[in-house]
């Protein structure tokens, strides 16, 4: 048994999925073969199938786990008894940490979800839309409560999501600026602007 497979960081299935996320990010879902994945883990391709049914199944695991994490955070945030601004701070912070902590998985969920097979493809696409529309609702409520300026909610959500998603390009700069500094500055920028 390979060392990685015997790792205590989760089950064998977890190890496979973690390694697959890294390969899917670098080479794309289509560009990665099960044989290559097995080689990278250090096992025979045939033994992968004892733990996971197919390459598509791995992609489903990655995408739906990421979706679960974001949805759970959104549920909690919506329910919390606090200001809209605090809620947005929480959400932006969560996005930044997901981008930094489980980068491969979030990247794959963002870039490769269109490779999902039905019924997962439609289901995942709908969850993405739902997530965005719930964020838009959050902003709308903030406007009603006069916590947020009278802006276009959809463009605001889009601007926020684009900014945090852009952290993909920041991976190479990780050492130059700390995550804490990125987090503080980006949240402040997206909520309060930079103009004096």
């Amino acid at each position: 048994m390979s060392k990685i497979f015997a790792s205590k960081n989760g089950t064998k299935k977890d190890v496979i999925i973690k390694k697959a996320a890294s390969l899917f990010r670098k080479k794309g879902f289509i560009g990665t073969s099960m044989r290559e994945l097995a080689e990278n883990i250090g096992v025979e391709a045939s033994s992968l199938y004892n733990h996971i049914g197919s390459k598509s199944e791995i992609l489903q695991h990655i995408c739906f786990k990421v979706a679960n994490d974001f949805m759970l955070q959104l549920n909690e945030t919506e329910k919390s008894e606090t200001t809209t601004i605090n809620k947005l701070e929480k959400l932006i912070s969560f996005h930044i940490h997901m981008m930094m902590d489980v980068y491969d998985e979030v990247y794959v969920a963002n870039h490769e979800w269109k490779q999902l097979e039905e019924p997962f493809l439609s289901n995942f696409s709908n969850q993405r839309k739902l997530y965005e529309s719930r964020m838009i609702e959050l902003i709308k409520k903030g406007i009603q409560k006069k916590e947020i300026k009278n802006i276009h909610p959809q463009v605001a959500v889009f601007t926020i999501l684009s900014a945090v998603r852009g952290l993909e390009l920041w991976q190479g700069h990780k050492k130059i600026v700390s995550i804490k500094e990125i987090e503080t500055n980006m949240i402040n920028h997206l909520l309060n602007g930079i103009a004096k």
Copy 2:
């Protein structure tokens, strides 16, 4: 001679580059062949070579034209006698319009520039870094002049560039929200925030 080739919208070379930008965006630089490009224009592959030396040369044209446009705007903006905030407004607006007006070219310059051959690869990479560092300088000057809050200039530039670059994903929503609305809202958001 094909209809597209006989178009009055520029030279034959322009037609080739325009069509190539569209194909490179959809299928990637590596995924697009000269034969496919020729088929899409409606000419023989051999006749492409009367106008352009190679696929690499097309990519150079696309990337360096986009670089010229952004650099020219940055030069003008830096020189203009106005506030830092106005300068940033100008720049963000320019980015948004480039993203909307010459989407294929900007997308290719952003995603496929790493396929450039040397010496173009290093040269283009350096121009990208220079552009970012000049934007950071602009923000720093704004902070000195107390027009901009005491923020982390690099993170601010990154947030702005990520937000506008995210407009790639907005292409499908073009009909839902007008470019003018996106422009006004995004500039306002990135400079003044959304919190009341």
